[in-house]
Symmetry: C2
């Protein structure tokens, strides 16, 4: 019987060798190939063993017909064998010193039929008897760039401070990919599915004490042990920032969750109140989740709610001011003295010099806009700045100017400017995205937060500020 403390999970994220059981030999496009392709792409350093009754060779690596044929001990197993073969695999693993098995395959309790539930109970029982820890079944397992483990070839190879525990494999990839181009990187990510052995509480306890992780994301459909999870959440929330997306909060969503990971979802009210009480940021979609991670990574130093909005477009100025104030942020008018200073080099016709500041007519003169940003940034009346740019259908010549603006901002020492976020409005067409994408990448690689709409920026920044105010308030009392 293994100890169930969080330290015991460390080996799962740093295995010395990995066996892929059930990988297809014939079809390179088959989904069971994704694990091998990813481990090779990430250059996993330990030995890789492949197992399939057909034998043969894949990408120059020998395929063993039986698990028992592997000549060495194996540390970690990724299994894509059919559900009914899963229990037998654990028995074999027990003779090879295996510490953990990740069962990817579906067809267990989530299908809502007796045979699946029986098989899953059998796995849990075998885990307890053999001491082999199980991730899953019905999940994508571990992505840990630090140990070169991944389940998709296109995930970033660099590590970052965000840990993510997700009951859904699809939503795991969905979140990672949504923030990749916006500069967010991960420490450890676990897609854990039906959780017949290791569950959300195990992984949460582990990430709470993981020094590499400062932000924890959670996508949860149902919990296995409410009391333990609440304790784990309380402890984690004291030490890390937590963002939670609860799936299955409606009747339809809960029905989907039951069929997806065999989960009982629990009421929305309970989750709302738990998050509020513990200072956990609750989100309702992957898009919102992505915006929150971007904000926590690159905008967490906005010390208050007062924002200066600077950008291009009169109509945009009106709408962004509405969005920010509707979200509970403040857009204070600039002083007459500052207005006069900016007017010295800025014509008023076609521009708005209040707050928002619409610099439409002078966007072609980046040095003037930079001077304006500098003046506004010195002002004690605001806590942070937003630069908003409508980049739908801009000519390439304008993109050059936009790059100059960012280059100029980045050239100023960080201390000279208040925190700045970028909102770019883009059109989702190939020629437009091709033009704007390098700009987004430049901002992101310079740790500037990038958002794609006024509403998403305002909402995410407000949620982070509200969380910080709550935590600060708790500390003060």
């Amino acid at each position: 019987m293994p100890t169930f403390n969080s330290e015991s999970l460390e080996p799962l994220f740093y295995p010395t060798s990995i066996a892929l059981a059930g990988i297809t030999v014939d079809n390179p496009q088959h989904w069971t190939r994704t694990f091998l392709d990813s481990l090779l792409e990430f250059q996993f350093e330990g030995p890789l063993y492949l197992v399939n009754p057909k034998g043969g060779e894949i990408r120059g690596i020998k395929v063993y017909r039986r698990f028992a044929d592997i000549p060495q001990d194996v540390d970690y197993v990724i299994s894509t064998v059919p559900a009914k073969a899963a229990p037998g695999l654990i028995e074999e693993c027990a003779h090879k010193g295996v510490k953990a098995v990740h069962f990817c395959t579906a067809g267990f309790s989530e299908i809502g039929e007796e045979e699946g539930a029986r098989l899953e109970a059998q796995l849990a029982d075998l885990s307890r008897r053999t001491g082999i820890r199980i991730i899953g079944p019905n999940c994508m397992g571990i992505y840990c760039p630090g140990s070169r483990m991944s389940f998709n070839t296109d995930f970033p190879k660099e590590s970052g401070p965000v840990g993510f525990i997700s009951q859904s494999g699809g939503n795991t990839g969905g979140l990672i990919r949504r923030v990749m181009s916006r500069g967010v990187r991960f420490s450890k990510v676990i897609s854990y599915g039906n959780a017949c052995d290791l569950n959300e509480s195990d992984f949460l306890e582990y990430l709470a004490s993981d020094p590499e992780t400062t932000i924890i994301g959670l996508y949860i459909e149902g919990i296995k042990d409410g009391r333990r999870f609440r304790q784990a959440l309380e402890k984690a929330a004291r030490e890390k920032v937590i963002v939670l997306l609860k799936g299955g909060i409606t009747e339809g969503g809960a029905r989907a969750a039951a069929s997806h990971t065999g989960s009982l979802a629990g009421s929305e009210r309970i989750w709302d109140s738990l998050c509020k009480h513990l200072g956990i940021i609750q989100v309702h979609s992957l898009e919102e989740f992505a915006d929150l991670l971007v904000t926590l990574r690159f905008m967490s130093d906005a010390g208050g709610r007062r924002v200066a909005l600077i950008g291009g477009g009169g109509g945009s100025s009106v709408l962004i001011a509405d969005e920010f104030e509707r979200s509970g942020l403040q857009v204070p008018p600039i002083t007459q003295e500052m207005r006069d200073r900016i007017r010295e080099f800025t014509p008023i016709a076609g521009n708005i010099l209040r707050n928002p500041i619409d610099y439409s007519q002078n966007m072609t003169e980046p040095e003037k806009l930079l001077r304006t940003i500098h003046i506004i940034s010195q002002w004690e009346g605001i806590d942070f700045l937003i630069l908003f740019l409508d980049l739908a259908w801009v000519p390439l010549s304008v993109m050059d100017l936009v790059h100059k603006i960012i280059d100029g901002m980045l050239a100023e020492s960080g201390a000279a400017l208040k925190p700045i976020a970028i909102v770019v409005l883009i059109d989702i067409s190939p020629e437009q995205v091709e033009k704007v994408y390098p700009f987004v990448q430049k901002c992101s690689s310079s740790e500037l937060p990038v958002y794609y709409s006024f509403a998403s920026a305002a909402n995410a920044i407000n949620l982070v500020l509200s969380r910080n105010e709550k935590v600060l308030g708790t500390l003060q009392t």
Copy 2:
């Protein structure tokens, strides 16, 4: 003194000749060139006259040094002369039979200084004295594909049933471009700015009686005559579907509106109650506006709130069901009999066969998914279907399958299927957008509504249904 009825506006949208006063001669990149470039791109059929004191030639067209030098009468004038030269231009126009002048230039009442306000009052006075109608100042004027008038080269050349009246030029282009690739086309679009003569009520009355227009969009910062506007809105709402984005509903937004178009914005509460009372759909961003237009164009026949959600991904299934039920739509479970019929050809492991229906494991077999869609579509328990597809980071081979699914759906006669909307989740990177964009275009050109997130689809469909229920309710009582 001209009559101020809406019929008198018809000539503005179908001018027989256009003069461009103030166009730059030297710099082809200058913003004053956009009107000529657009009229040439759209192949405007009447004579085009160019006026600039420098004289010369632009793109093979003679430039007159003075307006008076134009040998013929002129029907319509687009002016980019500086604010202080605007009154003089009207005097000249009065001798040339001009019906209307669109003043693009800024620098009038919106700058909040005496000189600008005085100039604008002078324009209004000259309009009354000469009978020449004025659009603007400080706006982009008219886009009317039917008469080949446009102020941007990239707007669609085909007409459609959506009229749009917008106080902001930037938001005008912003909305048109957001719905272009999603299949929405326009009848008449007016960017009207400071409205010193023709205002929102004139254009609203005109579009309300325009047979080409069935949907009216409004972006308004402030209104000139509240009583008249309310009457115009009431009349228009009886005959057309209206979507309203009110800019300047917060203190910061109202300050921006005052500086943008010299408008006094009015309180949020009044606008909310007016919209509710008249069955007008109120939106709060251009993104939401775009989703509403797509829904009104291609999804207005969803006769009720019961939806079947079919697509790929267990986690996506949970989240889309939550979004739709949170938005007030209903996701009823399918019957056991239907489930059995689908199970005859669909394995249950890795799929969800309830509602939502997650077809993940069989997405590679389009004919099976089509059969499932067909079975669900016959069911009287639902009013419409959503097909949701996570197309972030799909290989091209999968895009081929996705095209086959849509081709199959389109091949069925429309009557065989209930209304269907498509939700595609995409990653905003050049290589991904390039893959997915042809698919979006195929759907849009076949009049299938396309959305880019679960939340935006659920929200827009709910707002249209709520509006229809309200209007139906009013008719029944």
